[in-house]
């Protein structure tokens, strides 16, 4: 789960990482009030779960509350890479002397947390890594050892930070970032930029935090931060119904059981010339009600012209899937063509149930590839 900047900063604040004071606003009037309360020059920043806000005009400096109101008016409702801005963060503006970069990521390749620091902050870090790799200092932490002061010293000296006060402040932030990362079970904690003010104060000017979804059960305070409004409405509905669903932009609705098989089905539909409308995984169990819920989500997408069920029963029983399809047909009156391929546990029983129902829009197919071809043909009309 990705956090918004303001949520990430709030989390940083909890762990003692210095951030600027700010307020959240959902209207231009609120932004004005926030600016007045903070006093002085403020920055109005679009809150979206994507990069490139600055370039898109989603970050503006405001010298007066009136300016803040005007800027917020422009930014709210703006579309940034497909994300509509519904919130802005109004924060006391910072004077910037230098910009650094500091992050801690979950390096799944090395299977250890990885610190990265460079004094060339404020830019695309992948570019720094590509053009001047020596400027980017990397350091893994053994998860059983934890983060010690020597880690922070290695990073600070390695990056070439020379001012003693700055060294001390950055080292403290390194330790606190590790606490944030492990304490909130993050997959990513990134500060870009980490700024130094003309007074020599070090502060996080941005916050990018991703939390492990599998760990949310023991972080209810973080789980609450999920913004259901920001998700695609169909994805939000799916989440509510406990269906694993990712919307794509084609016209063949794809359902499978198990992530790998479903991903493969989406690929095969594309391979035979079709355009998948979604990735929808019934998961391990896949009882009749789960099938009904999944069909409800998929058929809400107006682009869907045909539906392809590709089921390989293991724990999932094919007869249950067939019952679910028939139940959904009855309850929802689905008229779209549904191609069904069943194999594995109780497949014969499932095929028999579908055959006996006499439903005209249910098309059985024997293999995964033939099912995909049929669904693509039917979507084309």
């Amino acid at each position: 789960m990705d956090l918004y900047e303001y949520q990430g900063k709030e989390l940083f604040g909890r762990y003692g990482i210095p951030v600027s004071e700010g307020r959240l606003a959902t209207s231009a009037q609120e932004a004005r009030a926030a600016a007045a309360e903070l006093g002085g020059t403020v920055v109005v920043k679009a809150q979206v779960l994507t990069g490139g806000r600055g370039k898109a005009g989603g970050i503006k400096l405001a010298e007066t509350p009136e300016d803040a109101e005007a800027h917020a008016g422009e930014i709210l409702g703006m579309d940034i890479r497909g994300h509509t801005v519904t919130k802005v963060w109004v924060e006391t503006a910072s004077d910037i002397e230098r910009e650094y970069y500091l992050s801690l990521t979950f390096d799944r390749s090395a299977k250890q947390p990885l610190f990265m620091i460079t004094t060339q902050g404020g830019v695309d870090i992948e570019e720094v890594a590509a053009t001047s790799p020596d400027a980017l200092v990397r350091l893994h932490v053994d998860p059983l050892e934890g983060c010690h002061p020597w880690h922070a010293r290695r990073l600070v000296y390695g990056a070439g930070i020379e001012d003693p006060s700055e060294q001390k402040q950055v080292a403290a932030i390194v330790a606190k970032l590790y606490d944030t990362f492990t304490g909130s079970e993050a997959m990513l904690c990134e500060i870009n930029p980490l700024i130094v003010t003309p007074d020599g104060e070090v502060r996080a000017l941005d916050a990018k935090v991703t939390i492990d979804d599998n760990a949310l059960f023991r972080h209810p305070d973080l789980a609450e931060l999920r913004d259901v409004d920001a998700a695609d409405p169909l994805e939000a509905l799916a989440r509510e119904k406990g269906v694993t669903y990712v919307r794509l932009d084609g016209d063949v609705g794809v359902l499978g059981n198990g992530a790998g098989l479903t991903m493969s089905t989406v690929d095969v539909v594309t391979f035979v010339g079709g355009r998948p409308a979604d990735f929808c995984d019934l998961g391990g169990g896949g009882d009749a009600q789960g099938v009904v819920d999944a069909l409800e989500v998929i058929t809400r997408d107006p682009q869907v012209r045909s539906i392809y069920f590709n089921i390989f029963g293991g724990i999932t029983r094919c007869d249950e899937v067939a019952r679910g399809i028939l139940q959904a047909l009855e309850q929802m009156g689905i008229e779209l063509p549904i191609v069904v391929r069943l194999d594995g546990t109780n497949a014969e029983e499932g095929r028999r149930l579908l055959g006996e129902s006499g439903a005209a829009n249910v098309h059985p197919e024997a293999t995964m590839l033939d099912g995909a071809r049929r669904a693509v043909e039917l979507a084309a009309g």
Binding site: F106, R108, S109, K111, Q112, P113, E126, D142, P143, L144, T182, E185, M187, D212, D213, N214, A215, F217, R218, T244, V246, L248, G256, N257, G258, A259, G260, L261, T262, M263, S264, V266, D267, V268, T270, F271, P276, F279, D281, G284, F312, G313, G314, I315, T316, D343, G344, T345, T367, M368, L369
Partner: protein, 290 residues
């Protein structure tokens, strides 16, 4: 011969008294696996259809000589169960449980190093050596005994490919599902090394998917360390970046982890990659017939 699970496997099921643990534990036994014990704290002294239940893994090992553990306990308790099995001297642990926090797995992975313990999973379907032993949830009836080693990050996709192989008259030495999480106990390379050393295995199929770089590492390993031919399949060519495709580990982040990059890395080393599960099985048949 086969790998990981065989006729010498003596299995203890952690969570045997739960509904899933019971169902699959008994199913594994009916396939011929020696299921010698169950563990559920507080239920020691009971039995599940004749399988004795113990309060601790150490107790089960002492009484029954269990050497392999299968974990079916819920995610919040799975890490504890893995540590307990390691501490009890179990040599092979198969963790089926889905949803284990990634930070737990970082620590467990570091803890395993140097202890000589093999962990498969979590979030995996387990391992099946047809006709010898089944530890996990893989439906054994789809597979038959043979010479093809199969290793995969997915469950049902493995069944699909196993089914395609069976349709072509091919069988398997062992089928291993390593799991779909960002950090799992055994990587492709770990399992490929075992297939290379296994006399029964003559060809290998590796089924990868988007996310991480384990397929790329496997490509380098196959080129430099393996004499047996390997065919690969990668799922997720059409997956959009930044979206998790069902498995916690199946996500393209930044420019890394795409299916195309994995396919390119494999093909650059002369490893053939099937476009569909059907074509993948056909490529294996070509190897066998050649």
């Amino acid at each position: 011969m086969a790998i990981l699970v065989d006729t010498g496997t003596r299995l203890v099921v952690q969570g045997l008294t739960g509904s899933e643990g019971r169902f699959h534990g008994l199913r594994n036994r009916s396939h011929g696996t020696q299921v010698v014990a169950g563990v559920t704290p507080g239920k020691g002294g009971q039995d599940v259809e004749g399988i004795p239940v113990f309060d601790s893994v150490a107790g089960a090992v002492a009484e029954t000589g269990a050497n392999t553990a299968m974990i079916f306990v819920p995610a919040p308790f799975a890490a504890d169960a893995m540590y307990e099995a390691i501490d009890a001297g179990i040599g092979t642990i198969v963790c089926i449980t889905e949803g284990v926090p990634a930070h737990e797995m970082l620590r467990i992975h570091a803890f395993l190093r140097g202890r000589g313990v093999t962990l498969i999973g979590p979030n995996c379907p387990g391992a099946l050596s047809p006709g010898r032993a089944n530890v996990g949830i893989i439906p054994a009836e789809i597979f038959r005994e043979g010479s093809v080693g199969l290793v995969s990050r997915s469950g049902t996709l493995t069944y699909q490919i196993g089914h395609e192989l069976t349709q072509l008259g091919l069988g398997n030495s062992t089928i291993v599902g390593i799991g779909g999480d960002p950090v799992v106990g055994s990587s492709f390379v770990d399992v490929l090394a075992r297939f290379e050393a296994d006399p029964q295995t003559e060809q290998v199929v590796m089924v990868g998917e988007i996310g991480g770089d384990e397929e790329e590492k496997a490509a380098a390993f196959i080129e430099s360390e393996m004499t047996k031919p390997v065919v690969a399949y990668i799922a997720g060519f059409t997956a959009p970046p930044g979206k998790t495709m069902g498995h916690a580990g199946a996500i393209i982040s930044g420019s890394e982890g795409t299916a195309q990059a994995k396919k390119d890395a494999l093909e650059a080393r002369g490893i053939r990659v099937g476009t569909t599960p059907t074509e993948t099985a056909e490529l294996v048949l070509q190897l066998v017939s050649a």
